[in-house]
């Protein structure tokens, strides 16, 4: 409830602007967690689109850069919790790659918070909902992707 109130009071940077969020989900944990959010009818903002890969480690840095180049306001990568990866250790690689990628984004003049990595397991429908809500709020605070404004 407190969260809802906070969300409403968050400053809206641009009038009528709706952030576009792209979410990569691994097949085994996070995509299943997103499905569970659905099965549990957990309501959340509509402005995100999910792309499924078998493992979060399939998310090529190129995908993230392409998303920002095409105007995504935020990119979320979701994977299994550490030690829970269906493919043993794919998520550890994801963690390293995303950390590096955030540094790279900053060098290009993007706020690194536009790219986020989070762990969502198959039983965490609630966490999926919370993650989406929070990321939506973060991006609203950051405002539109600078590429769209040029």
């Amino acid at each position: 409830m407190a969260e809802e109130a906070q969300a409403q009071s968050a400053p809206v940077e641009a009038e009528g602007w709706e952030p576009k969020l792209l979410v990569f989900c691994c097949n085994w944990c996070s995509y299943a967690g997103a499905d569970l959010a659905g099965v549990s009818r957990l309501q959340m903002p509509t402005n995100f689109r999910v792309i499924r890969t078998m493992c979060s480690a399939r998310v090529d840095p190129e995908f993230v850069l392409r998303a920002f180049a095409k105007g995504a306001d935020g990119v979320l990568v979701l994977g299994c919790h550490p030690a829970d990866c269906h493919y043993i250790g794919g998520n550890y690689r994801t963690r390293r790659r995303i950390a590096l990628l955030r540094v790279l984004l900053e060098q290009y003049g993007f706020n690194p918070d536009r790219l986020k990595l989070e762990w969502v397991s198959a039983s965490e429908g609630m966490k999926f909902q919370q993650t989406i809500k929070e990321f939506d709020r973060t991006i609203r605070e950051l405002g539109p992707n600078p590429i769209n404004e040029e």
């Binding site: 097949n27 997103a34 099965v39 689109r49 399939r58 392409r66 105007g71 269906h86 493919y87």
Partner: protein, 1005 residues
Amino acid sequence: MVSKSGSVLVVGGGIGGVQTSLDLAESGFKVYMVESKASIGGVMSQLDKTFPTNDCSMCILSPKLVEAARHPMISMMTLTEVMGIEGEAGNFTVTLKKKPRYVREDRCVGCGLCAEKCPSKVPSEYELGLMNRKAIYVAYAQAVPMKYAIDADKCLYLTKGKCGNCKKVCPADAIDYEMKEQIEKINVGAVVLAPGYELFDARLKKEYGYKEFKNVLNSLEFERVLSATGPYQGHVVRPSDHQTPKKVAFIQCVGSRDEKVGNPFCSSVCCMYALKQAIIAGEHTTGLKSTIFFMDLRAFGKEFEDYAKRAENEYGIKMHRGTRVASVEETEGNNLLLRYSDGNNVLAEEFDLVVLSAGFQPPSSAKALADRLGFKLNEFGFCQTGVYTPLETTKKGVYVTGAFSAPKDIPTSVAEASGAAAKAGSHVFNNRVSIDTVVKEVPETDVTGQEPRIGVFVCDCGINIRGTVDVPSVVEYVKTLPNVVYAAENKYTCSADTQESIKKMIKEHKLNRVVVASCTPRTHEALFQSTIKEAGLNPFLFEMANIRDQCSWIHMHEPEKATEKAKDLTRMAVAKARYLEPLTKSKLGVNHSAVVVGGGLAGMTAALDIAAQGFKVDILEATGAMGGNMVNLYTAEGGISPRQYIKDLEAKVRANGKITVHLNTKVEDVSGFVGNFKVKVTGGKEIETGAIVIATGAKAYVPTEYNYGKDKKVVTQNELEKALAEGKFAARNVVMVQCVGSRNDAAPYCSRVCCSKAVKNAIEIKKRDPKAQVYILHKDIRTYGFRETLYKEASGLGVKFIRYPENKMPEMTADGKVVVEDTILGAPVQLSPDCLVLSVGVRPNEDNEELAKMCKVPLSKDKYFLEAHMKLRPVDFATSGVYLAGLAHWPKFIDETIAQASGAASRAMTIISKQYLETQGIIAAVNEMVCNGCGVCEPVCEYRAITIVGDPANPDKRKAVINEGLCMGCGTCVAACPSGALEQKGFKNNQILAQIDAALVGGGK
């Protein structure tokens, strides 16, 4: 006579019969699945949702029905009954009677024109009379097989020789009024009975006014009311005036725990389904207030207790405990007045809808079936089984599964169904056939070089999608996308008739890519892939858009935005589909043996079932002795004590040449994959195996409460049982405390077995010394199923039951007295026991986490092993080739453990009986032209599937090579490759980039 048969007869086409059939078929046996009705699906097909996950029942069932119907090893025979049996186990001749359908199954296309023109209306059995069907009908919209049938008693032509409309309009010339009953004899090696149950006829409880007052429904009728496909399209309304009710009452134990109506047993599932119905009704209707009137809340299964708590705390469902409703009267406006007692006073409350939670009864066909096949029924009219033989009838070679042997829930029935398949298979395993010899591969259409022609099927999912998303506008939008040559809306894209229509459209429109916008690929991709395969398309020319779980369900109050999103998601799927390529699978060898981890009841039972079909088994037992928890159980059941039974079982295991026992042996590491695991064990030995069964058990909670361990008069139930068995028990004032270490903050679940154990021990004490005082202090008495008769017996012998409040455990005073708050008296009661017995709960093993990691399987919130799907895959893990049984899964009784262990054995045999397994299609591939052999990918691969090798022709040129059997298709290496030489088939860079671009149309540069 013919040689020994390789076939099995399965009687009943509900979820139990379907699962048994699928397991047998996947293990290489021919199955005759007979169903007395015109379509399969059973009661589960009528349910709206299932507890405790609230999964849509039809959504999870439908793929299984379709799979069974299309399986080349299964002959589905509807409208068929078993008339007699001759011969013996291994070689039965069964006589079947097939009633005329009056519609030729080989011709009917399920178009429904006949039903449209049929003038004769009949109450629909599927809708329990809440809706009508025609005299020519299919039971429900997604019926399997999707073939119409004529109800001969209601058809004007067959009764009076008039009408004949259906024959006139049928475009397929499928109507045949001359069809006659047929008798057929088949040869089978074993029989599995799965005829299910019937609902108690609530009219027998006259005081509740069922069928007299319009707004009194039974639970299955209410299930239809809740269903999107039901009489009110999922709107909760009263039958009398179609108005939304504000107050609903659920009355429990209607026809259960009731000797007056001849059903003294508990039906085991009604508490949970009432909670589920109250939750779902509340979700459908804002402000709805539900009250459940019950005696004991029996939430004993996995995650049930949490579900019950949520119902009460989050959904505000009022739980009226410890009472039986005395009567229901109709008042003004068809409202209903309930009279009930709170233990002290008679109260009355008005409701506008009443749901009777009706219990289970044996099917009315039980007696006839028992007579024809020669097996016995028990005192309640269900199929007779034993504690140690839960899947066996009294006739050798005839097995039973599901609610026909006792009331039970779906997962228990499904586990048993697999178990019965293992048992049946032991009679026919010498005559296994390879599926290759049966399946005619549909030649694949070559699509190379063709311009993509994409067909898109957008699903309503009843109202699950269409209730929020404007599906017609999505379809219209999709038609405007490039390369889309066909788009259509389906009520249920997963139904059997839609599969036919997809195949037809592929042919008609020369589709070479198919997109389905519906639910999640996690559950439905395989179904659609096999459908397009049957139409000659490579199964990988398929893509899904998840517009239900990840759209309509999570944006229920924003229909416009949800519709936009559904369009976007479908556009993304179409964008990817444009770049899809056909993929091939390779065949891999299978190790025809199994490893069972744990040497207790579950482990040994599973091992014996696997060995019985000729496979080698290694049992790994961590301790120095076999037997697990069973060695501590003394009280005889069916004339034999558990500890004696487990000794005998161990002797059988030791004598079995196929089984090797490894004591003091733990799993150190697991590598490999389904069919080809390598299990490294204590001492460094490596065992190669095709499948792994986890049966590591659980342990008893060691109490710190009530001075246990310090005060000699305080013992656990197991210690009491031992003292009783050894004749060392002499106490006269016994107090038993339930839920010590269960249903509390540390272990918020019910340990399932403690109530029955306490009651059993109390009976034993009273039988030996009728003057002894025995008190059982409890929150609920959960003696479910036939165990209810123990509760009754204990009460009859004078055992006293005191209910204490949820949040107030009985206390022990300094001088050893016990003070308990009696919820009926509303006052504390002081007892002076000379023996205080603690009913301690069950706790998961501490090393579960370690084993789970090695086997790459998950644990539940309570740290038990977590199965792949709580309802329909109760002994599988998401990781294929690894299975689960016994207390490692959840606390359970001996008979339940045995059935589940046989189930795990059956599932393992569906793998290790195969000649080969197919690799995944979506593995990594190297573009040798681009790869420069830098070697970055090699250490990245967790499965050691990549090696860098030199090119024999050109020693300077090095390149990466993928081992297809080891590659699991994660794509980690692909993202690591600096030169773009690696690709993941099915998730190629261009495919994913197309999805990204399609998601962000109109943005950026």
